[in-house]
Symmetry: D2
Subunit: 257 residues, 4 copies
Amino acid sequence: MDQLVIADKTFNSRLFTGTGKFKSNELMENALVASGSELVTVALKRVDVDNPEDDVLAHLKHDQFNLLPNTSGARTAKEAVFAAQLAREALGTNWVKLEIHPDPKYLMPDPIETLQAAEEMVKQGFIVLPYIHADPVLCKRLEEVGCAAVMPLGAPIGSNKGLKTLDFLEIIIEQSNVPVVVDAGIGSPSHAAHAMELGADAVLVNTAIAVAGDPVAMGKAFGQAVEAGRAAHLAQIAQPRVTAEASSPLTGFLNQL
Amino acid sequence: MDQLVIADKTFNSRLFTGTGKFKSNELMENALVASGSELVTVALKRVDVDNPEDDVLAHLKHDQFNLLPNTSGARTAKEAVFAAQLAREALGTNWVKLEIHPDPKYLMPDPIETLQAAEEMVKQGFIVLPYIHADPVLCKRLEEVGCAAVMPLGAPIGSNKGLKTLDFLEIIIEQSNVPVVVDAGIGSPSHAAHAMELGADAVLVNTAIAVAGDPVAMGKAFGQAVEAGRAAHLAQIAQPRVTAEASSPLTGFLNQL
Amino acid sequence: MDQLVIADKTFNSRLFTGTGKFKSNELMENALVASGSELVTVALKRVDVDNPEDDVLAHLKHDQFNLLPNTSGARTAKEAVFAAQLAREALGTNWVKLEIHPDPKYLMPDPIETLQAAEEMVKQGFIVLPYIHADPVLCKRLEEVGCAAVMPLGAPIGSNKGLKTLDFLEIIIEQSNVPVVVDAGIGSPSHAAHAMELGADAVLVNTAIAVAGDPVAMGKAFGQAVEAGRAAHLAQIAQPRVTAEASSPLTGFLNQL
Amino acid sequence: MDQLVIADKTFNSRLFTGTGKFKSNELMENALVASGSELVTVALKRVDVDNPEDDVLAHLKHDQFNLLPNTSGARTAKEAVFAAQLAREALGTNWVKLEIHPDPKYLMPDPIETLQAAEEMVKQGFIVLPYIHADPVLCKRLEEVGCAAVMPLGAPIGSNKGLKTLDFLEIIIEQSNVPVVVDAGIGSPSHAAHAMELGADAVLVNTAIAVAGDPVAMGKAFGQAVEAGRAAHLAQIAQPRVTAEASSPLTGFLNQL
């Protein structure tokens, strides 16, 4: 069976999801369950770490879900490492989605701080999945310091623009020895399917599910699209052609005229 | 339930398929069954009309399938009408996919002959689904002469290039009072999902399934992708944004530092 | 020297221009002079045909300009032919830009009425340049009935979206035996240069010059871009490559380390 | 007059050029003169630093040209700094185009080594123009350590694919306080014009001129296109519109019918 393995975990679903922007925690729970997602990222901020009855966490207590705390809000390596330590203690997981974005407008990640934080986190025993620009050399360096996966962006976070970094994702997928998870920018199921068709190992979707008219239906649609894109990748997609070629023969019955 | 109605028929699947280019009729049958497709286009040429045991037809005898004979090979309205008449007699259906492409290299359809043939076929009692360029005015005229649906192309037949006519498909979908079926150029499940997300009523896929490494798996993937795209359309997709917006809050735990 | 010949006229500039949407006739005159354009299209409506002192025409009385009356506003072949006859009488030219767009929202051209009008106009001795969708088969049919050039659109009129019909323009340029003028949708000089690089014989620009912050500077910029694009086409552009190749050698001085 | 200032130099031309891949040094000289370029990058390797009669340099002895030695071939910050020192000594200029690309296949730049080298070079008194991925955060950091300009890539070097990083170039241009020079991937004059229209301060072109059928004509075409794109940027380009709007009025003469 086609499963995704990252570090010590095995996933049947290649759709990773986020928990921000939902209108309610109930809606979040229902949408994520419908999506089939098995890895859910959660910002430390959302979680009241001193309260075991925290509402967000309560809604994520499904066998289906593994939690992936993220360092969103960190602007430097030092802040990110601190956030990861807090998360480990609070949530009991050493998995971390490393995010460092100093720019409040476009939230683009910082390559320098990210590499530095990744190196330190790996040393401290974290399973590190860094969110980064679609920079092929940076991806290789993150792999070299021991990251468990790389998470290049498709477009700015929350932009819903799709795979604007297509040409670079192709290089990253070709060169990477760790799973490639396309994160940010995926605005519709067709974008997610496209990423999978290219050979990405997974995608992370948040905004596009959370702000849809019907987040539960949209979660399910993303789950299906990711499966379809993965299956198409495995079934080998034919390449685009310059000249057309008819599916149906051109001559034929006309001889009967 | 979300069903598609064209003329007198109701469809649960919005994936229409073609029968050309498969390596064998067995493979074709299995791929089309896996795709869930309920409308299958077949070129008259492929069918030995005098032989009730014809092999192509034998492989399409499933309750799942409705046949849509096409006029592929016709270069003029006259030839197309003749082909439709032959098909009606041979296959016992008055449905016809009207295709007229005089150019053997790119197989682009002829707008003038197509409109003329459509008008005549409607008069003769056919249910006409014309394959045409993504020309919004032509689509309206075909609707006005009584076509049951319009089938604008996404890209040249067999090119697998996807929705190259996107800007015009959007206009056609906005203006059409009959179902819009995107035909030709769809090369992967993500393309099919994209068409459905835009609001197309169905897509027709042939080459991309037939020439995939594994046509059965690809057929199934297309079926899923069309469902996902349709569901996303109904669930209301969020629009692309220029500025990013974090799914996770930017400040937060850092106050604890 | 590289000149464009259409029917009986020779052009040094491959930038055709329009006269709509300018803030004043003076501004229009200055922008069109600056653009170097030698063929200027004018809507019959703008011209007071009974008044030899008409202001629009007065501003176009330059040796540089040839007038190309258009049939904008016509919704049928009959209306277009009538408009052309009026224009011939009023402006003393048998050249006509044939435009028929029944749809008031997107102004997409009607292929059926356009072909019909073209055929009639050619019979009546007009030099006909039809504005049409980027439909390769329609272009061939217009050529066959005697049109002097074809004018496929790049994108909807006034949309400034550029060459959205790229894949079809390439086919048209490859197959046409008459000059191909890309008309509509060209929103910036880079779009115009792109059309010329593909091998288009000329472009027609109106909105993008007329509504620019500085129409005179923009007119000049378009003139330069069209020259640059044409020169690049003649100088043979290298094709895109999948793999990078360094302009500078990779090894070298490092041996000295 | 619209001039570009970088560090202590003023440029009338915003087209920077490279010297690789030309069939001969004569052809290179003629093409670069025709292009109007005033800043020419040269790989240290090409130059025989011990030979004052070196042929490449001899062909670049024009008042028109300023030399910009590059560190192509360097795989680490250390190698790049060494290369810059060699170049300063050999060519008598403290300007340097900083390039570090460890990957021999796609030649993508290394963000970590580049920032480190830039910091060191600035300390050593160099005028540093780093070639980098279109990474907005990295651009800001390079600006902060004192780089005189930033040179984000449009697409992989030598790929001729154009502005594949468009969405990120827009952010970089919006945020940068130093000149932005789009480098790599520009394959035709329309690509160069497009970069200028976006607001880039300059572009660097090498392969597309060097390997054109006629490099001298292509050099001139690029020069024109860069001027046109810059002029269009200054003249304020109108934004794309969703709905069409006629340049010519829709009704009008038809009232006379």
